[in-house]
Amino acid sequence: MEPTGTNAPLLALENVSKQFASGLVAIEDVSLSVAPGEFLSLLGPSGCGKSTLLRLIAGLDAPTRGAVEWPYATNRRPPLGFVFQEPNLMPWATVAENVRLPLRLAGRHAQWRSVVEAALERVGLGAFATNYPRELSGGMKMRVSLARAIVSQPQLLLLDEPFAALDEITRTALNHDLLTLAAEQRWTIIFVTHSVYESVFLSDRVAVMSPRPGRIATQLAIDLPQPRTDTLRLTSEYAQLCGRVSNELQRVMEKEQVA
């Protein structure tokens, strides 16, 4: 029996491995725990199994070995939100219907309209409820995707390089929104990225992953003050942390080249 209580981690991965049918070992022996309310970034080069790890946590794939456990919620998977690399909106449905999807799938039909409106308001898309996704820009589509995660009231939000395809300006704005939302909604967040700066700016902790097979090479606590604001980017503490994380990533890449 796992310990249950306020000190228990929300998520605990124990010696998790994933081998695909093709024989490729995507994840090998990963152990990781995430505390409630924590913001964890998984940082690594492409092909290091970051996305696979996220899918294992979400239950979209099953690990070949090891266990995904939820000690804090007495081992029941808590409500999850997932923001993918792509916005993944239904092109045939309006923005409001897209945001409503989690409610609909959960059979919650009462007052969905006000819940959806509030979520759209929250991401600054209040005026776009009746538009179709194809009428929106890339950044706006990602915002719809965020609004959809909000209505599902997740305890844990998983983000898989969510803003990677967007321009720098939109990306910065969305990162800000994400931090505000996380604090407001008390989300626990696991954020997959390949940007050192993004991971340091957003996270409480950065786990650097190494490729082939995917492992966690090292973990660094990011003890920068909250809330994170733009001025933080100008501080030497931020620059030092970015340097340290960058060095770790460099080490991972060099090992890869030697091997």
């Binding site: 899918r55 997932f82 993944n88 239904m90 092109p91 045939w92 999807l101 609909r104 799938l105």
Partner: protein
């Protein structure tokens, strides 16, 4: 709506109409002033006159053909969609049955129809079956492809939020498959007319209720070119009308979200 778009809309209606009018006028002139015998090529005005004077016989023949076509189309839609759903839920069944659907599709109808007449005997069942055979495949293959083509990311999302099988079908698979189904329907609607007409040619002599193709056949036999052409005009008119009807339906259903509907 931007001006170029408006312009091309206007052009897409007027340009084909203008071509039609020009061709008809040229045809009329050739018949009147050229030395073309009426039994070879009747003038458009003569065809129009026949359409009016023989409207009773033509209308009842038109009803026979259209009834065959619509019945075949309805069965093709129900059967094709149902079989596509079966294929989508079982890869195993799809692999074992799909080749036979292809065999049915590639066998020339004209070779099949006389056999069917010998086997079945009842002409209206044979015409219906012929129209059904050709209309079935486009619906089946379109819908099968459509049911498989939902975006993987959306499928994951539905899994993540615990969608039931029914929710997945209704909210994800049906809307994803709709454009593919409609593309199949566009082909099937005209093939069902072709199938009905071809079968009428084969069963023509045996039938009590003549269809449009039976009239074409008869007119040819009696050198009644006016009647042949009037029946032909009705066949093409029906084809054009049903094509545009499905086109309008497709635009209406895909309006706003699909590239073909905006």
């Amino acid at each position: 709506m931007n001006p170029t778009n408006n312009n091309s809309n206007w052009l897409s209606t007027v340009a084909p109409l203008a071509v039609g009018v020009l061709v008809l006028a040229g045809w009329e002139a050739a018949c009147r002033f050229g030395d073309i015998p009426a039994f070879l090529l009747p003038a458009p005005s003569a065809i129009a006159r026949t359409l009016f004077t023989e409207r009773a016989a033509l209308a009842s023949a038109w009803l026979v053909t259209v009834r065959t076509m619509l019945a075949a189309l309805a069965i093709a839609i129900i059967g094709g969609v149902a079989l596509a759903a079966v294929f989508a839920s079982s890869r195993w069944l799809e692999l074992s049955l799909f080749p036979y659907a292809v065999v049915l599709q590639v066998t020339p109808l004209l070779a099949l129809a006389p056999l069917l007449l010998v086997w079945i005997g009842t002409p209206w069942i044979v015409t219906l079956l012929c129209a059904l055979i050709v209309a079935f495949f486009p619906i089946l293959s379109g819908t099968t492809l459509g049911l498989r083509s939902s975006a993987p990311g959306l499928r994951d999302l539905f899994t993540l939020y615990g969608a039931t099988r029914w929710q997945r079908l209704r909210l994800l698979l049906v809307p994803s498959a709709l454009p593919y189904f409609l593309a199949g329907l566009k082909v099937a609607v005209n093939l069902s007319l072709v199938g009905a007409v071809v079968a009428e040619f084969v069963t023509g002599a045996a039938t009590e209720a003549p269809g449009l193709a039976t009239l074409v056949f008869e007119g040819q036999f009696r050198s009644d070119a006016d009647r042949t052409f009037a029946a032909l005009a009705l066949i093409s008119g029906t084809g054009i009308a049903s094509y545009f009807a499905v086109h309008a339906l497709s635009r209406h259903l895909l309006a706003g979200w699909h590239e073909s509907g905006v």
